[in-house]
């Protein structure tokens, strides 16, 4: 099965605080077809997020699909509470980089759809 990089499937890959104790990641796919490939791939799991950020799986609060926005969202426990001593990113807006390396296996039909 062909794997393609998340940057080809998604239009938004961002991170932000969800309150001072959580960081939340939004991946918004380019269209329904791309979202369906992503959700069916089985790639988007708590294990994926824990691996990308090198954190324990119990620090991954959830990975949720939001069909209405063609989006998949993950939320983790902030390693430092927003603004506490040792903070590096008060708004949490620059924690998205590891997500950009996600590779998603897609169907051959979808590859044709991309090429068309």
């Amino acid at each position: 099965m062909k794997k393609i990089n998340i940057t080809e499937l998604a239009s938004v890959v961002r991170s932000k605080n969800s309150g001072p104790y959580e960081l939340t990641f939004d991946i918004i796919f380019k269209d329904r077809a791309a979202f369906e490939q992503a959700r069916r791939s089985g790639v988007f799991t708590k294990e994926l997020i824990a691996g990308l950020y090198n954190i324990d799986i119990d620090k991954v609060i959830g990975v949720v699909e939001f069909e209405a926005a063609n989006a998949i969202k993950a939320t983790i426990v902030r390693p430092v509470v927003s603004g506490a001593l040792g903070e590096t990113d008060v708004y949490g807006a620059q924690q998205n980089a590891p997500l950009l390396s996600i590779e998603v296996p897609v169907s051959s039909d979808f590859v044709k759809y991309l090429d068309s």
Binding site: S18, N54, F66, A68, A69, A71, S82, G86, V90, Q95
Partner: protein
């Protein structure tokens, strides 16, 4: 009422908006103008210090335009989370601004001021009764946390705002409020479904961020009717699309299907987004499920000390490779030099070019950059201690030896003289908990003032 129109001028009062968009919004004859004025996002400092992250002159500019337009047309104005954090000093900043504008412009109206700062002893009593629960992943609240807590606010729901409207207030200035409340309150009072009204508030509270291209400095118009709400931008360069509006629903939230708030849960499992015109989106199916007991979210901060930082750069490739060794040496020298002093301090080195942005979450651990930005940070019990530790760490780092050193004239490039900056008081979140209340009004006293 068949349909209520709610104008949101800007994402945060003071972020500004184009006059053309606002005028277009007024031409649609809005029944309400509502604006969110704050957030916890800028961190704990502003709540602790009693200062606002929004600039007074910029807030006055927005308020003048809103008040003049609204008072003349008798449109109610609701402002939530006054002054950025919604505590007493924040509320007073915006209260004084409104009084100043009313005098300068000769405006007369009834204003309701709703307070949201909570006495920490009241929280302590509730904690002892078992009525305070942590909002995961915040840890359970301990009484010691309250001893050092500086200021606590509660996030009000729509009910106190409805009460102010019932009293005939034309302008409502509210302390800390759940962001959608100021938009939802008039719609719920008019009989529209709370789920739709709160979801609409969630979209409107960020101004035109929910449009494409998004902007926090532009207006958005909401309409709520039987079984639906709609949103549209007022600037012809923007469109509300199914994607822009639904994507905004999940912005800054842990779970877009279930959004907890004061008094209940906004459930969006059945929510449908539909493009009705080129730039307008209709939403249906949003539900509000009240909780059995009424909970209010508390936010509180405590002092963490005083900060001093020194900013420097390093371009020597040998030093860049040995940076861990240098930092260890500096830490040891600082500790040794002041071991008799009894100073309590936090000393940190932020290395831009190496894990400076992601810190503990950084997966790229073995990169050697060609230069490093270095921030030496000291936080102490007093500003003097922070100054002392930062200054000593800076001078030690400048001249510290390390294995293989060739650049013996100095290790750091300072872009500024003076090289050290006093950061002043530092706060940290200490309370982020739910408190059970008897009614939605109990933490939020209201006063009516005729201007």
């Amino acid at each position: 009422m068949e349909e209520m129109r709610i104008l949101s001028p800007t994402a945060i009062l003071g972020y500004g908006f184009p006059l053309e968009s606002f005028t277009e919004g007024l031409s649609q004859k809005p029944h309400v103008i509502a604006v969110d004025a704050g957030s916890t996002d800028p961190g704990p400092y502003y709540l602790g210090a009693g200062k606002s992250f929004t600039n007074r002159a910029a807030v006055k500019r927005d308020l003048e335009l809103i008040l003049e337009a609204a008072v003349e047309r008798k449109i109610p104005v609701l402002i939530g989370t006054a002054g950025g954090s919604g505590g007493e000093p924040h509320l007073k900043r915006d209260y004084d601004l409104i009084v100043e504008i009313a005098r300068e412009k000769g405006l007369h109206f009834t204003m309701a001021v709703i307070h949201a700062e909570v006495d920490k002893e009241q929280v302590r009593e509730a904690l002892r009764r078992g009525e305070v629960t942590p909002l995961y992943p915040a840890p359970p609240l301990k009484e010691e946390d309250l001893d050092t807590t500086f200021r606590v606010v509660g996030q009000m729901g729509f009910e106190p705002l409805i009460a102010a409207l019932e009293e005939g207030a034309q302008v409502i200035l509210a302390g800390r409020a759940y962001d959608p409340s100021v938009f939802a309150a008039p719609a719920i009072r008019a009989g529209f479904e709370p789920g739709l009204a709160i979801h609409l508030g969630k979209i409107l509270e960020c101004g035109a961020i929910a449009s494409s291209p998004g902007s926090g400095s532009d207006c958005l118009l909401g309409r709520v009717g039987p079984g639906y709400f709609e949103v549209e931008p007022l600037n012809p360069i923007r469109r509300c699309t199914v994607t822009s509006v639904s994507a905004h629903t999940l912005y800054e939230k842990s779970n877009p299907l279930a959004l907890p708030g004061p008094g209940g849960l906004l459930e969006l499992k059945e929510a449908k987004f539909e493009q009705v015109t080129e730039n307008r989106v209709r939403v249906t199916g949003s539900k509000f499920i009240p909780t059995d007991k009424y909970y209010i979210k508390l936010e509180g901060v405590k002092m963490a000390g005083y900060r001093t930082v020194s900013i420097a750069g390093c371009r020597d490739p040998i030093m860049v490779k040995k940076i861990d060794e240098v930092i260890t040496t500096v830490r040891e020298r600082v500790q040794d030099n002041f071991k008799e002093s009894g100073y309590q301090y936090f000393l940190d080195f932020k290395l831009y070019g190496r894990n400076g942005v992601m810190g503990r979450l950084e997966p790229e651990l073995n990169v050697i950059p060609h230069e490093l930005g270095i921030i030496i940070e000291a936080v102490g019990e007093t500003q003097d201690i922070a100054d002392t530790i930062c200054s000593f760490a800076r001078s030690t780092m400048l001249h510290s030896g390390y294995s293989g050193r060739m650049a013996t004239a100095g290790n750091l490039a300072f872009p500024y003289s003076p090289s050290d900056f006093k950061g002043g008081a530092v706060y940290q979140f200490s309370v982020y908990h739910l408190i059970e209340v008897n009614n939605p009004y109990s933490l939020f006293p209201m006063k009516l003032i005729n201007l």
